[in-house]
Amino acid sequence: MSLSKEDDVRWAQACLEGNTEAVEAFQETFSPNLVGYLITKGALPSDAEDIVADLIKECLYGKEGREPKLINYQPVGRLEAWLNTCAYNKFRDFIRRKNREIPLQPQPLENEETTGIQLDHVQHTEPDDPATDETVEHLRVALQTALERIDEEALLLLRLVFIHGVSQRSLSRVWQCHEATISRKISAGMQALREHTLTYLNNVETNFSFSWEDCIRLCSKHQQLFL
């Protein structure tokens, strides 16, 4: 294992130049770590091994005529962290591809453990996984922080319309403005909620990048725990 970012850069460069010793060390060092990392993120061991094997090959030799992915490594962080991010992104792509292949109706509960391909299903099989619990807690804090930061008028309109079912037309009368103004304030409120949440979450969860859909899926999965 290298000792510093400078070592990481030299190591990556040696791999790209085809140095056999460097390539072997790269594979031996990172393959098991990346497989273990993906398993902690909910991947099945066999899926994790396939994803990592593909990633290692892509890093060292490129894929489908493209240059080796390792060229993209920048020494702003450690090589291992960069590889973790790459592996997690490939895992997410893998889950999304699999989800598209599955009918949209809810899966029977007894099938969840064997399916192992939907992020929320995988997390359901490992409820005590500290990484999962930590991520859910980060999401909760991110959303609470975002709600605190939203303009109070926009938040009130969001609650009135989305929770209490008040029509935007009625609100435009009370607010003495055009209905489109109410609509814009609501859209801006939701946009602020999304941006504040993702900014906070992606600052805390440095190893992978959350989308808004990820957040909602996690909320949906865990909401019953907080009711």
Binding site: R140, L143, L158, L160, I163, V174, I186, Q223
Partner: protein
């Protein structure tokens, strides 16, 4: 993207109880109750509106009451 569904899911996740009728609570403190009614009647100053919005942000359990007041307005 489904904003209403997303927002409901988030509040459920955060454990915020939804009183969609607004009728299960007694009443907010008197000054705010008056401001709430004045808002619906269009008689609140900008400063009072801001104060009321801040109160409702910190006390969302009263938003349902405001919703009821708005719904009770006669149609044009």
């Amino acid at each position: 993207m489904d904003d209403p569904q997303d927002f409901q899911t988030i509040l459920s996740f955060l454990g915020e109880a939804h009183d969609v009728t607004g009728q299960s609570h007694s009443a907010p403190p008197e000054p705010y109750l008056q401001q709430l009614k004045q808002l619906v009647q269009g008689g609140l100053s900008e400063e009072e509106r801001t104060s009321l919005f801040r109160f409702l942000k910190a006390n969302p359990q009263w938003v349902g009451l405001l919703a009821e007041e708005i719904r009770a307005l006669p149609e044009d």
